[in-house]
Symmetry: C2
Amino acid sequence: MQETRRRILESLSDAPVSGPALADELDVSRAAVWKHIEALREQGFEIDSRDNGYVLLGTPEFGGAGVEYGLSAPFEIEYHDSIGSTNDRARELAAAGESNVAVLADEQTGGRGRLDREFSSPSGGIWISLVCRPDIPPAQAPIYTLAAAVATTEALRDVGVDAGIKWPNDVLVDGRKLVGILTEMEGEADRVSWIVVGIGINANIDADAVPETATTIRELVGDVDRSELTRTLIERFEELRSDPESVLPAWCNAATTLGQRVRVQTSNGDVVGEAVDIEFPGTLVVATDDGDERVSAGDCEHLRPT
Amino acid sequence: MQETRRRILESLSDAPVSGPALADELDVSRAAVWKHIEALREQGFEIDSRDNGYVLLGTPEFGGAGVEYGLSAPFEIEYHDSIGSTNDRARELAAAGESNVAVLADEQTGGRGRLDREFSSPSGGIWISLVCRPDIPPAQAPIYTLAAAVATTEALRDVGVDAGIKWPNDVLVDGRKLVGILTEMEGEADRVSWIVVGIGINANIDADAVPETATTIRELVGDVDRSELTRTLIERFEELRSDPESVLPAWCNAATTLGQRVRVQTSNGDVVGEAVDIEFPGTLVVATDDGDERVSAGDCEHLRPT
């Protein structure tokens, strides 16, 4: 967001401020103040003019300005009402050298999941892709996926949704999928160039607009302020990526897999047993009849206790 | 290479064969045989016409046909006399879904090394980039880099060059660099989409055309048949990638690092000690004064014994 507009919003958030006072404070003309106020109204900020000055009555439900307002994390928001795929756009930005950009959309018309599967992304969701350029080897990329799952789960719990993570990054409520996460990267064999973390949340969406195995926030707790949820998500992700060692403990709190009997389908066959631990950067330790097995990738199912 | 031409070359490689006999054998017209023979001559195959038929006297020194002739590995060769960067072209092919293509050039005008460093690639070298689509997690990508270093070192030893690998993939002769390897990849957090293995060999090049710290095959043993060396390299790489467990034992034979005192500069500081082992997918084990340390990435220096 433009710096002057950000400062105007800050001034108005406490008490009404007159146009002349704002012009003084920001060292711009009264005409400039008026133009910025108009621009903010167009972005969806509800700003009333009263006798004693301008007053901020409401913020946009969603969109770039709605999310950036009050965001304390170093991400610039690029918002689209509708876009093919936020990950595709984020990859473009990453390839062009950009960093710390969050591509956000109300709707994706060509949403992609893992292995190029289709990913339903109707209007009303939170479809967001974060462009990161960490100095890590590709082997550590899974920690970004885990951080995304943790940040999302915590943001959902904040709005009363009882979400939990199934290893490694499925965010579920009562066994139904609420969130999709797709981490993509490019790099050399021992060094990442960029990572794009795509997170898709079925937010203010009717349940019949998503697959049967999925659910939506609307169905679970009713509609939420998507801007606020998105801010919480980005801020929590920022904290986690700044301190990679904090990710696994946070994951253990947010996940439901540890202590469960699981079946993990891996490229080397199924691993069945009790999930007993997780190790950096996201390896699941399964206690099987033949001892502990470590699984770094695979489809995990929670089984009923025997 | 076109299938009919490949079969013509096979027929001619043993003894002279007449045009009519070739036409019969391949079930094409005599005019078609003549056209294929002309095309092969244009690609640099030396084919003589004698009383008793065509005879193959020589193969092209280099180029797509020169390398593909007799190649027993499932790689198609895309040859360029001159190209910006074989890795860039290979990445384009990979992004378009291609697999098992080797982009080969006599000269690169914009050769790149690790971390986007410039990489000198004059005419007379072997600049090759292999497009692979293995079903592995990004964490295992280093095994491809090691396989490339092993394949190259073995191919060089075959032509009398006493090359050895410094961990992880520097191919050196008497401490001077003969080969550059740049592995690039794209994928999801736990699954590679493609890997491009770029290998650059200072082959038939004057020593004064490469950096002071480098050397060339011409300087060491004189000019070599680049087509043959390239075939050996590709075939050996193919064997290694088909059997990932064979890579580390082969690396131990081709490398000079184990048993050496080393200093490895890592992002967490220097690790100094004796290199005692290598672990999948390429982690160096260094015996330091404080016990064994495992290093997965870093710049390695061989130190003099204390």
